[in-house]
Amino acid sequence: MRGRRGASDGTRRRRTAWELWVTIGLLVVLPLLAATDYSLHIWTRMAIFLILLTGLNLIQGVAGMTSLAQAGFFGLGAYAAGISAVRYDLPPLVALVVAPVVVTLVALLVGVLSMRLKEIYFTMATLGAGFVLFLLFGRMVELTGGPNGLVGIPPFSIGGLEFTEPIMRYALVAVLAALGAVVAHNLLVSRTGRALRAYGASEPAALAVGASPFRLRLLAFGLSGFYAGVAGALEAFDSRFISPSTFDFMTAVLLVVALVVSGAGRMVGPILGALLLTGIEVFAADYADYEPLIMGVIFLVAVQLFPRGVAGELAVRWEERRERAQRTGEAAGPAETAETARTTRTTGTDGAPAMIEEVGR
């Protein structure tokens, strides 16, 4: 029994774990490849995107509910942290805790109001929430600095230790990004993640086994807000200046597109999406006006080539290959036991759908 368990439930779980290790591995390896101040700045941006997308993946990828609020939540986190530090002189460490808490509460509020809606209306509600937040960032001038942005945000610090060196700034973000990936992985392989996915597949069956869609989806949405809050606070302390335009509608769409192109619902989707977003940001720095155009073309091509996202498509192809290999292995295998004989027969060796007559015995 034991040995078999390792070989089977394990396969899927191990595969997800492998995706987690890729994510953490890249966080470690990338700065080693290029560790100039500039490249570290780029990797820091990438890791912030990773946190944002890991959160978005929970609601968008796992729960299957498209959220256009993630940019607004990102901004809310940034402003919550920035305002805490600038206007209320709270230590950055406290601000880093305050920001995700604030965003989570707002996400839960938006979620409670909109989670019972059908998916498309939920998406519209999140779009509305994103717009409201974006407007508030620009209008509440006394608190946010308005369109000119919030200046004078201190660097992140713990005690007297200031995180001003690029490598320290990267390390802070990378550690939190890795932690976020681990937590998301835990959720994905647990009963909660299973139930979230189940809801996307069959709502009646999920209800019949007693899973509450409202509670599960609210949890996923609240978590996506928490991640956005952490990412926002890190953005505030890293840039030390924030303005509304960073958190506009375009950002919200780019986040969704990047995740879908990379592989929504896969553990490795967020890191691929973060690399894509960073790549575009760097590449488009010289062609700033064309960023939407570049993203649009990538999206158009990607949905044709990889309808399940790059990661999803690769995983499916790999699985198919594995299954084929298994089947040929079975055929060529030694003396059939009664057990394997029955299994192969239920598979329908001749391609005809074998029915349950083989099974009930």
Binding site: S8, D9, V183, R194, R197, A198, A208, I356, V359, G360
Partner: protein
């Protein structure tokens, strides 16, 4: 109150159409009670009322003495009432093992937030659920399929997975909504054995079915619905000989029992 399912005075209308009219029936633990009736008799609505997908206008659904809240499908699993669906409802994109493990959802007590850290309790819980799911797959000859995506299975096996998922709930009452629908005649026997196995395990089975041969061969008690009402009930033999049943199914005219059950 005796063990099993007890439905009393259930009525349901859609607009002016009375779909169920004062339906009362019992599905005692450890036996198979069948509900038959022509198309439009209200069988599926009855299954949906029992499982909470449809709110009845009147009447109660009681499992082991506890009245179930009307129209709240989510509450049924905690009351150990499981159901299958006329149209296959499985969790696509998930493996067979994960599908079956989902059946144990309401038996797992750990909180969602605890899953974020996957503490020892969460892990132990998961291990137990997977071991139980694996044992069920073994029992139904699906062990070789554990890691296959459920949508890659032939229809008959996928239907079996749905039934195994219900068993993973450790149910006390099971409502089977047309389990033989879409299966070739050759599958009827193993299906009958599976259902009989449920009753032998002490589960109260309510079998809603079109296939008369299946119903007549395994049911202890048969309830005939016609136009939303209980037309008659009794043992399979009694029901088969009831002239009203023959008429409800085939219209008036001379018909032998043999023709009816063909």
């Amino acid at each position: 109150m005796s063990a099993g399912l007890q439905i009393s005075g259930v009525s349901k209308a859609y607009g002016g159409l009375q779909v169920l009219r004062d339906v009362t029936l019992r599905a005692p633990a450890g036996s198979i009670t069948a509900v038959i009736g022509p198309n439009g008799a209200g069988k599926s609505t009855l299954a949906n009322v029992i499982s909470g997908f449809v709110t009845q206008d009147a009447g109660t659904v009681v499992v082991n003495g506890a009245t179930l809240p009307p129209g709240r499908a989510m509450t049924r699993a905690a009351r150990r009432l499981g159901r299958t669906f006329q149209n296959l409802e499985v969790f696509t994109g998930m493996t067979v093992l994960q599908n079956v493990a989902m059946g144990a959802y309401s038996r797992q007590r750990g909180g969602h937030l605890a899953d974020l850290v996957r503490g020892p309790r969460s892990r132990r819980d998961e291990r137990e659920v997977h071991e139980a799911a694996r044992a069920l797959l073994d029992r139904f000859g699906l062990e070789g399929r554990a890691d296959s995506l459920v949508e890659s299975l032939p229809f008959g096996e996928a239907k079996l997975v749905e039934m195994v998922r219900v068993l993973a709930m450790e149910p006390e009452v099971v409502v089977l909504d047309e389990p033989a629908a879409g299966l070739p005649p050759a599958s009827a026997l193993p299906l009958a054995q599976t259902i009989a196995g449920m009753a032998a395990d002490g589960i109260g089975v309510l079998l809603i079915e079109h296939n008369m041969k299946l119903v007549m061969s395994i049911s202890e008690h048969v309830v005939v619905l016609d136009q939303g009402q209980v037309l008659t009930e009794g043992t399979p033999t009694q029901v088969q000989q009831d002239a009203r049943v023959i008429e409800a199914y085939l219209g008036p005219g001379p018909m032998t029992t043999e023709e009816l059950t063909r």
